[in-house]
């Protein structure tokens, strides 16, 4: 149980976005194929499918590595992740020539702080819980 702490941190980190991906993919499938919304999300779906869960896993590994030297609360540490993911997600949309709906740009001044808060809460309570269960908190 006390072996491979970084592997356990990675697994605890990817668990939440992997589960949420099911919700996102279901919503996407319904929107795209049931309501025929003409937005080609499949062009950029690789970002939430592959990059985000791995980023969560690696971020949790980084938190564990940092934790051994400096005690940063996991909520605050997790809240910093959108500061990397948001530009990354936007970069992917630009590289793949995906047209972001203008409504998203209109709400973007509010979206980043809300994203930070959501990440803070999810990391503090969900990832923190998983870390504690796996003995790496």
């Amino acid at each position: 149980m006390y072996k491979h702490p970084f592997l356990r941190a990675y697994l605890a980190g990817i668990a939440i976005p992997t589960v949420l991906l099911l919700v996102a993919m279901t919503a996407y499938t319904v929107i795209r194929y049931v309501y025929d919304v003409p937005i080609a999300i499949e062009k950029v779906i690789v970002f939430p499918m592959a990059a985000v869960p791995n980023a969560w896993g690696l971020w949790n590994v980084l938190h564990l590595a940092v934790w051994q030297k400096r005690r940063i609360p996991i909520g605050l540490f997790g809240a910093a992740l959108p500061l990397l993911l948001a530009p990354g997600g936007y970069l992917v949309t630009r590289l793949l020539h995906f047209t972001v709906p203008p409504e998203v740009f209109q709400v973007s001044p509010f979206a980043l702080p809300i994203g930070l808060i959501v990440y803070y809460l999810v990391w503090k309570y969900f990832v923190g819980f998983l870390n504690a269960e796996l003995g790496i908190a």
């Binding site: 996102a24 985000v52 993911l85 709400v107 509010f110 994203g115 803070y120």
Partner: protein, 73 residues
């Protein structure tokens, strides 16, 4: 399987599987388990409830944020 083979396997098993030695735990783990169970769920501070409520209101007022949020989760 012949008697000789059985003896050979016994010998091999005895050689490879060393005696456990002291099998008892150094301490009783049950009191620690009871203490953990009695602690219950961690209490949520009031500011986290405020943040959660504020997020809910913001998502309700600006539903355009939901897809952007899902994209990054």
């Amino acid at each position: 399987m012949s008697e000789r083979e059985v003896d050979e396997i016994k010998k091999l098993l005895k050689r490879e599987m060393k005696p456990v030695g002291k099998a008892e735990l150094p301490r009783d783990l049950w009191p620690a388990m009871l203490e953990k169970l009695s602690r219950g769920a961690a209490s949520v501070p009031w500011w986290d409830w405020v943040l959660l409520a504020g997020t809910g209101v913001a998502l309700w007022l600006f539903p355009g944020m939901v897809p952007a949020l899902l994209y990054h989760l």
